[in-house]
């Protein structure tokens, strides 16, 4: 039964991930057209365009909603453009959902795409000594993998995690991605392959850290009324039952991108939940379901070890138990709660503004039974989880 805050996912679409080196607009338009076809609606039916921005492609990337709207042909639709780093896609989705729930729109296109440079993501050029993202590179040499590695090393010392445990996450996701036509890397790897790849940020090897990719993803979101009128005999659509775009609460006690220090716990005690734990919690609260109700999860495996952190942060197991969950096979296809059946970032690499939308595409295909070769049998609900630097939570619960 649909909740009063549900909206329908009528269509999803993606442009395959890769290192294509073409204009990001091209990927976004392809994904949008794919999603429109999937929904069976015309571009002219869209009354709200919600773009997820890219910071690496000049002005058109900062006004992505309008950029995509113009590329598809101006229709007078309302527009918004969102930036929330890796969480941009869900921030754009939330803008669309709230406009639909307010009765101000019926059909929204949510779309994000990126063209990425080679190598580490680095700050924009020029000296900006008051920008924390500039300072962490200049004063510490702290790259994104530095932060991933701090989390990984802590798991090793606190919970006895091993490099083999981390490598097994990559092995699992690489296998899942073999059957995904949108994945950039479709190649099986072994634990030995992972451990033999160069060490980037100890304990994380090159094959354990997500690459940067080009890609585009889009979702057609509609009111439940519109979906019912439109669907006819197609059956009930996948629904968005909960969206979380929470920020941290003070004191934020886990050091995270791009900061070089945490908040202080000297006066205000730490919350019972860390920021990452609060992200999924807010989505569960909205959806009225819990981790035990899930059929699958798509989480942000920026590194192998971060996928294990997510198992705990979205409530699949207790703190310190993620390695056991992985080693018991619970999170592989056919296991109790498959994680990243799409292949995850391990197989995609990150196309920042498209990635959170791509997670939604995958869960939608899974709930429709259309994830050929990587299908979670009988899937009825799924969660996406992700976090954007500068304090952006992102989690969506989808049900059918």
């Amino acid at each position: 039964m649909a909740g009063q805050h549900d909206v329908a996912v009528l269509g999803v679409g993606m442009h395959p991930w890769g290192k294509w080196g073409r204009n990001f607009v091209e990927y976004g338009v392809a994904a949008a057209q794919d999603a429109l076809r999937d929904a069976g609606i015309a571009w002219s039916d869209v009354d709200f365009v919600s773009g997820a921005d890219t910071m690496r492609n000049g002005y058109p990337g900062y006004v992505s909603g309008a950029t995509f709207a113009q590329a598809l042909g101006w229709t007078g639709a309302r527009v918004a453009s969102s930036y929330a780093a890796c969480a941009s896609g869900v921030t754009a989705l939330e803008a669309a959902r709230t406009r639909i729930l307010a009765g101000l729109a019926d059909v929204a296109l949510v779309v994000g795409a990126d063209t990425t440079p080679k190598g580490f993501l680095a700050p924009n050029a020029g000296d900006r000594p008051t920008d924390p993202d500039w300072l962490r590179f200049r004063l510490v040499g702290a790259t994104n993998p530095t932060y991933f590695a701090l989390a990984a090393r802590r798991r090793m010392d606190l919970y006895g995690a091993t490099s083999e445990d981390f490598a097994k996450v990559k092995v699992k996701n690489a296998k899942n991605g073999l059957a995904n036509p949108n994945a950039r890397f479709q190649k099986e790897v072994s634990v030995d392959d992972v451990l033999a790849s160069p060490m980037v940020a100890d304990p994380l090897h090159l094959l354990e850290i997500c690459a940067t990719s080009d890609g585009g993803a889009a979702v057609i979101l509609t009111s439940m009324d519109f979906a019912r009128r439109h669907a006819g005999s197609a059956g009930p659509p996948v629904r968005v039952a909960g969206v979380s775009t929470v920020t941290p609460t003070y004191p934020n006690t886990i050091i995270d991108l791009p900061d070089m220090a945490t908040d202080s716990t000297a006066v205000v005690a730490r919350d019972e939940r860390t920021f990452k734990q609060s992200i999924a919690h807010a989505a569960y609260e909205e959806a009225g379901i819990g981790p035990d109700d899930l059929s699958l999860a798509e989480v942000y495996d920026l590194s192998t070890a971060l996928e294990l952190d997510w198992y705990e942060d979205i409530g699949l197991c207790k703190q310190g138990e993620a390695e056991r969950l992985l080693n018991d096979g619970d999170t592989q296809l056919g296991g109790r709660i498959p994680v990243n059946p799409s292949g995850g970032l391990a197989c995609f690499g990150e196309a920042v503004p498209a990635q959170a939308i791509a997670q939604i595409c995958e869960v939608t295909w899974q709930l429709r039974g259309q994830a050929t070769g990587r299908q979670v049998e009988g899937a009825t609900s799924g969660i996406t989880a992700n976090q954007g630097l500068f304090g952006h939570g992102s989690s969506v619960i989808l049900v059918k």
Binding site: A122, F137, M199, A201, D202, M260, A261, T262, V267
Partner: protein, 152 residues
Amino acid sequence: MTTRTQAPALGAEGWFTADPEPALLGQQCSTCGTFVFPKANYGCPNPACGGTEFDEVRLSRFGTVWSYTDACYQPPAPYVTPADEHVPFCIAAVELADEGLVIMGQVVAGVTVADLKVGQRMELVIDVLFRDDGTDHLVWKWKPVATEGEVA
């Protein structure tokens, strides 16, 4: 021979002192008492406080390792590689018990992940981040506290 100038690295002016002992300079809110590092630009970060007055305080010189890593790959600009070729260096996030802060920094040269553990005691030092014509650009770094019988 010309005299070399020593100066805090760009962006870190006023973040630390070497006198009389090396210490990071943080702030303590005059209203609620919470600690802030780096300095707050827009008032107290405690949302229940609203204070705008701070005392500059020297943060604890000793703390314990929260986590650590080796930067095996050369970071991109604005990082300045201090030598002709990249030499892997260690980074640690260190917890200061009294202030309830965790602060990241490079670890002094010669230390690797093999030398560290979560919970290990560290001390703050001021060290050279990189050198250019006539100037040593200084920054804070963490250094393992030598255990008894060991030479630091």
